[in-house]
Symmetry: C2
Subunit: 99 residues, 2 copies
Amino acid sequence: MSGFRHVVMFKWAEGTTTGQQDEVAAQLRELPGAIPEIREYSIGTNAGVNPGAYDFVVVADFDDKEAYLVYRDAPVHRAVIDQYIAPLTAERVSIQYEL
Amino acid sequence: MSGFRHVVMFKWAEGTTTGQQDEVAAQLRELPGAIPEIREYSIGTNAGVNPGAYDFVVVADFDDKEAYLVYRDAPVHRAVIDQYIAPLTAERVSIQYEL
């Protein structure tokens, strides 16, 4: 397989509700329909297996780096980040790599 | 798709060489051949697109949580962690989630 993958994990701030987390997931699930550059899009919530694990993750695959940059900078994506994700975020880590 | 995914990111300690990083990747690439519970195994090195990104990532898919736990605790895996990964690790973050 070739392509370009973006992985980002979040820890939510104390007091973040299940409803707020569900809203983040619902908003993100709209993005593949809005941004055709997204090839595969997987979001997940910590299964609670290991102590210290992050709370939420997005694994997004693209054909190439340029397609990822379209996603990263898409206004519809930035709006979800600004309105739903950033206010809840305590920690954010990411990596991008060639598949 | 159903299954169970493990995602782990590392930042390497200052002074870690390219050769050491290549050895980590080479050792990990042996694991799918040694641990049949691994369904998909993707490893990657930071593409350098975004400042602050992590250095290295593993995305590993399994049929279920139990299969992931076999991988997590497999002596051949723990040996790679202890001998090759832990000595280089400055930061490690992970999440496990249901696909």
